[in-house]
C-alpha cells in the first residue's frame, strides 16, 4: 500500500470528524455523533484492500468507513448536518450512512444487526459466483449479542465469503468490555474455530496486510475470516446534542493510547515533511463544511417518500 496516500486518507477522516465535533459543540449536528477518531487505520487499512464492487456494511460509527469506501465527503457532511444534498436526504443522519454508488450497503445503529445482513449479502455474493467478498465492521461490544454467534456459525457452515472486522477498542459505551465478558474477541472467535487474526489496529500497514490476506481467503472460497483490530477511541464514545460527555476512561489508559495514535505511527515511517499535506486537507475540509453549512434543509415533502404506507398523515381526518 502507498503509505503516504493512506496517511492522507486517515488525516481526512481525522479532520472531518474533528470539524464535526466542533459543529456538535455548537449544536449544529442533529442527533448524536460517534466519532471515528483514533481508529482511522482500521477503515483505511481494510478498505484499501477491498475491490470497489464489494459491499461494505457498517454500524453507527460509520464516518471513517464511508470516507475510506470512497463516499463523497461533501454529501456525507451534508447528511450528517441534515442539509440539502446529503447522501440519504436527511433521513439517516450521522449513524446510518448508506451509498449504493460506492457499495456502502448501509450502517445500523442497532448493535450487531449489521452482521447477519452482511452474511446475507455474502450469500448473494457466493451465489453470484464472481469471487467477491463482503466486508462488515463491528465493535467489540457486538460480540455480546447472540446474533453475532448465530451469524458466524451459519457463515462458517455455508463457507460464506464474509470478512468480519472487529474494532476492539476495549469499551462499549461507558462500560469496559472486560467487565461484562470473560474472553477477548479473538478468544471468542477461536472458540468457534474460525480463521482469525489479531492485528495492531493503529498500524495502517499491518491492518492492510491482514485484510489483504483475509480477503484473498474469502474470495477463494475458504469461508468467513475475522480480523480483530486492537485500537482505541481518541475522543469518546458519542455525543448527543451540544454537551461533550464526561470522561469515563482512566487518564493513564488514554495517554498510553494517545502515544500510539495511528497518524503518529504512520508519520514516523514517512520520510517527507507532512506540513503542507495537513494544510491542504484542512483547507479541503473547511471548504466542504462551509459549503454544507450554507446549504438549505431538505424539502419537507420528501418526509413521506421511500415507504409504502404513507396514509396516516396528520390532519387526514374525515
Amino acid at each position: 500500500m502507498d503509505l503516504l496516500s493512506a496517511y492522507r486518507d486517515m488525516l481526512r477522516i481525522r479532520l472531518f470528524e474533528e470539524s464535526l465535533l466542533r459543529c456538535a459543540k455548537q449544536g449544529l449536528v442533529p442527533g448524536s455523533i460517534h466519532p471515528y477518531t483514533g481508529q482511522e487505520a482500521v477503515a483505511v487499512g481494510v478498505l484499501g484492500a477491498r475491490r470497489p464492487d464489494e459491499w461494505v456494511v457498517s454500524f453507527y460509527r460509520c464516518h471513517g468507513h464511508a470516507l475510506a469506501a470512497g463516499c463523497s465527503p461533501q454529501r456525507m457532511m451534508r447528511e450528517i448536518l441534515c442539509r440539502d444534498g446529503g447522501l440519504c436526504g436527511g433521513k439517516s443522519g450521522s449513524m446510518h450512512l448508506a451509498d449504493r454508488a460506492h457499495h456502502l450497503l448501509g450502517s445500523t445503529s442497532i448493535v450487531a444487526a449489521q452482521l447477519p445482513i452482511a452474511a446475507g449479502a455474502a450469500m448473494s455474493a457466493q451465489l453470484d459466483g464472481a469471487g467477491r467478498a463482503v466486508l462488515v465492521f463491528c465493535g467489540d461490544g457486538a460480540l455480546g449479542a447472540g446474533g453475532a454467534y448465530e451469524t458466524l456459525t451459519i457463515a462458517a457452515a455455508q463457507r460464506l465469503p464474509l470478512l468480519v472486522v472487529c474494532e476492539d477498542n476495549g469499551w462499549q459505551d461507558q462500560t469496559a468490555s472486560r467487565w461484562v465478558r470473560h474472553l477477548s474477541p479473538a478468544q471468542l472467535v477461536s472458540g468457534l474455530d474460525l480463521p482469525h487474526v489479531e492485528v495492531d489496529g493503529n498500524d495502517v500497514e499491518a491492518v492492510h496486510d491482514a485484510a489483504t490476506a483475509a480477503l484473498a481467503a474469502c474470495r477463494s472460497g475458504a469461508g468467513p475470516q475475522v480480523v480483530v483490530a486492537h485500537t482505541y477511541l481518541r475522543d469518546f464514545h458519542a455525543q448527543l446534542g451540544d454537551q461533550p460527555p464526561r470522561q469515563y476512561r482512566p487518564q493513564e489508559e488514554r495517554q498510553r493510547w494517545a502515544a500510539r495514535d495511528p497518524l503518529t505511527v504512520a508519520a514516523g515511517r514517512i520520510p517527507a515533511d507532512l506540513t503542507d499535506l495537513h494544510a491542504e486537507v484542512a483547507a479541503e475540509i473547511d471548504e466542504l463544511l462551509l459549503s454544507a453549512l450554507a446549504a438549505g434543509t431538505p424539502d419537507p415533502a420528501t418526509a413521506t417518500t421511500g415507504v409504502s404506507v404513507t396514509t396516516d398523515l396528520i390532519g387526514a381526518h374525515r
Binding site: A303, D312, I314
Partner: protein
Amino acid sequence: MSRRHPAGVAIREAFTAQPMLSHFSTYQQEDLIAEYGADRMVRMPIAENAMLGMALGMALTGRRVLFSVNRVAFLFSAFDQLVNQVATWRYMTDGQFSVPLVIRGLTRGGEHLGAQHEHAPHGMLSQIPGLVVAVPGSPNALGGLLRTALQHPDPVVVLESPRLFAPTWSELPEPEPTAAALPFGVAGLARPGTDLTLVAIGNTVIESLLAAERLATRGIQARVVDLRTAAPLDRDGVAAMVVPDRPVILVDEQSRAGSVMTDLAYHLVCGGAARPEHVELLSGAGVPAPVSAALLDGLLPDAERIVRAALDNPAPLAQRR
C-alpha cells in the same frame, strides 16, 4: 433545579425497600452500585434477548428484575422473550407463577436519532396480551407509574419520553400534584376544561397541555385527559370524562394504524359518549422517524397543530356561541 427527579427517587425507594429486586442494564451508575451492590446492579453485555430471558427466570423464582433497556428500540431485539415468554408465562401455567418484571425504555422526543432509535410503540405493545404498558406524560406521572410497576405482580413496560429527562425537565407542564403511586388503567384529568376534550398519551400529554394554555388565551377551556397506560386502556373512564356535546380530539404521536386512539374513538362513538362528527384523531404519520428536523416537523402532532384542530373542529366550542 433543586427538585430531584421523581424516577430516580422511585427507583432508590424500591431498591431500598425490596432486597429481592435486581437491576439489569448495559450501563450501571457507580453510585447505585456503591449503594446496592454490584450483585444487584448487574452490568450486562449488549444482549437484550438474554437479559430479558434471565429477568424472567429470576422473576419466576421469587425475585423481581428492573430491566433498563435504555432505548425501547433495543427491546425489539428481545421480542421472543417479551411476546412468547414474559407475557404468557403466568397464563400458560394457569397462575402457578407470576412474572414481576419491569422494563424501562426511552421512546422519542427532541433527540433526532432517527428511525432505528426513535419509536413510540405503546399501541404495538398494548396488543400483546399479558403486558401492562405505562406511558407517563410528566415527570411525576413517571415516578408514580414506576412506583406501581415496581409493586406489580405482572410484567410492565414503562415507555419514557426523553423529554422527561432533558435538562429542562422540571419546566414541563406537571398535571400530577405528586409522584405518588398511580393506578394502572385509570386515566387522569390533566387539566379541567369545559369547551372541548383533548385525550393524550405520553408526549402528546405535554403538547396537549401546551395547546390548552394557548387555547385559554383565546378564552377556550380545553379539558385534557391523560391515558397514563395504553394497556389497560381506560375506555369507560375516558367516556365518563369527555365534555358532552363538544369536540373530542384524540392526540397520538404514533400512526392511527390499529392504535389505542382508534380503539377509543370506536368506544366513545359506539358507547354514545361522543357524536361521530365531534371526534377527531390527530396522529403521527406512519413513516419511520427521519433525523432531519425539517422532515420530522411535519410528521408529529404538536401544540400548534392541536390548537388548529380545536379551532377547525365542526363541533360547537362554547366560546363560539
